[in-house]
């Protein structure tokens, strides 16, 4: 009888422990990471293994795409002694959009310093970067449903920055985030790289890391 009990324990205990472990790991994997500082969050985002930064080199041109979580944009606008209401209002404002930073460079220099071969091409590229990126950058699902770009910002750095960096804003729509991946494409900007594509795992967006704000 005692032997039977011992045997029963031998089977039951690992099964229960396994179930508990499974539930705990499932809960842990569903929760998003929270960081104490912006710097810590940036370090996490810049680790390629975490899936928020993707990089590619095509024909000597470096492309990198970074997903910017909501809290990073909130922190940018939040004053030091802001109230909880203000924090919630900002989170509400920014969580409706998806923010991506696209960086492009050649030999560690921005596109305007390396790609145009003459004054005309330089002018055309300035124009393209400032006003024409809506036609060149697209975000769409695997079934080719496009998320219309809301806005983008391409600041002129006059050679002071290493890559050409542009911030893109798209609407955050749950129906599109139910798909496994979103495709972010950049058409050729006159540098013979062809169309460059980044696949963004929607899971990463849904479980985006955040900041622990002190208020």
């Amino acid at each position: 009888m005692q032997n039977l009990k011992a045997n029963k324990l031998f089977y039951v205990f690992p099964v229960r422990a396994g179930i508990l472990l499974f539930i705990a790991s499932a809960l842990f994997s569903c929760s998003s990471k929270k960081f104490d500082s912006k710097e810590a969050l940036w370090t996490y985002l810049k680790e390629k293994e975490n899936g928020y930064l993707q990089q590619k080199n095509i024909n000597g041109y470096d492309f990198s795409l970074l997903y910017k979580p909501t809290d990073l944009l909130v922190a940018q606008e939040l004053e030091e002694d802001a109230s909880k209401e203000r924090l919630n209002a900002l989170r509400e404002k920014y969580k409706k959009q998806l923010y991506f930073t696209l960086s492009m460079s050649r030999n560690g220099k921005e596109l305007l310093s390396t790609t145009p071969k003459n004054r005309q091409e330089f002018g055309a590229m300035v124009n393209q970067l400032a006003f024409g990126m809506r036609d060149k950058v697209h975000l769409f699902t695997q079934k080719k449903d496009t998320l219309a770009m809301l806005d983008y910002n391409s600041p002129r750095m006059y050679g002071m920055s290493q890559p050409t960096t542009i911030l893109f804003v798209f609407p955050r729509m749950d129906k599109y985030l139910r798909e496994e991946v979103l495709n972010f494409t950049i058409q050729d900007l006159g540098n013979y790289t062809g169309e460059v594509k980044f696949k963004i795992q929607t899971d990463k967006i849904k479980k985006e890391p955040g900041l622990k704000f002190q208020n």
């Binding site: 045997n7 079934k143 050729d188 013979y192 790289t193 062809g194 169309e195 460059v196 594509k197 696949k199």
Partner: protein, 177 residues
């Protein structure tokens, strides 16, 4: 203890089988035929058609300019007998300048067509590179060679050829399946 040994044995067998299949998969040297991928990828046809339409428009611009110039040349030849020496020189100079301009334009268009071709080809190559990389990672291949028919892979067993599988996946992804 006796009862516990059976599940343990089953687990051990499963682990052994799993590692056998995993190692069999990852130790394989496989390849894809790049030319076949380029030909069979449905986006190649789409991109090529777009390029050809663009090239046709550019070339037709040149053709209409050349036709206009030839018309002027014929008119000049027809009426040269009636022209004064000064008129003759002036028309010759005008036609010469126009011919030069058309030549320059033609060269610029040819260059533009070549550039467009380069961009279109690179787009397709990017897609193939991305997909093969992803396919290799997903299926645990340590290396996937790219055969281009120019002697970089002289012999490979048919079983090592992943081209058909990769092409199927590549086209399915392009068609949004």
């Amino acid at each position: 203890m006796k009862k516990a040994s059976l599940p343990l044995a089953i687990i051990a067998i499963l682990i052994a089988l799993g590692s056998f299949f995993y190692n069999q998969n990852t130790s394989k040297l496989v390849y894809v035929d790049v030319n076949k991928l380029l030909d069979g990828y449905k986006r190649t046809k789409v991109v090529r058609a777009e390029f050809e339409a663009k090239a046709k428009t550019l070339k037709s611009n040149v053709d209409s300019l050349v036709a206009g110039w030839q018309k002027e040349l014929k008119l000049y030849e027809k009426e040269r007998a009636k022209m004064s020496k000064k008129e003759l020189a002036l028309t010759q100079e005008l036609l010469g300048n126009k011919q030069q301009q058309i030549n320059n334009y033609q060269q610029a268009i040819q260059q533009q067509v070549q550039e467009e071709d380069k961009k279109a080809t690179q787009t397709v190559i990017n897609d193939i590179n991305d997909f093969v990389k992803e396919y290799g990672k997903k299926n645990g291949y340590p290396i996937i060679f790219g055969a281009s028919g120019s002697g970089n892979i002289m012999y490979a067993d048919e079983k090592s050829d992943l081209t058909a599988k990769v092409l199927e996946g590549l086209n399915a992804e392009f068609e949004g399946k």
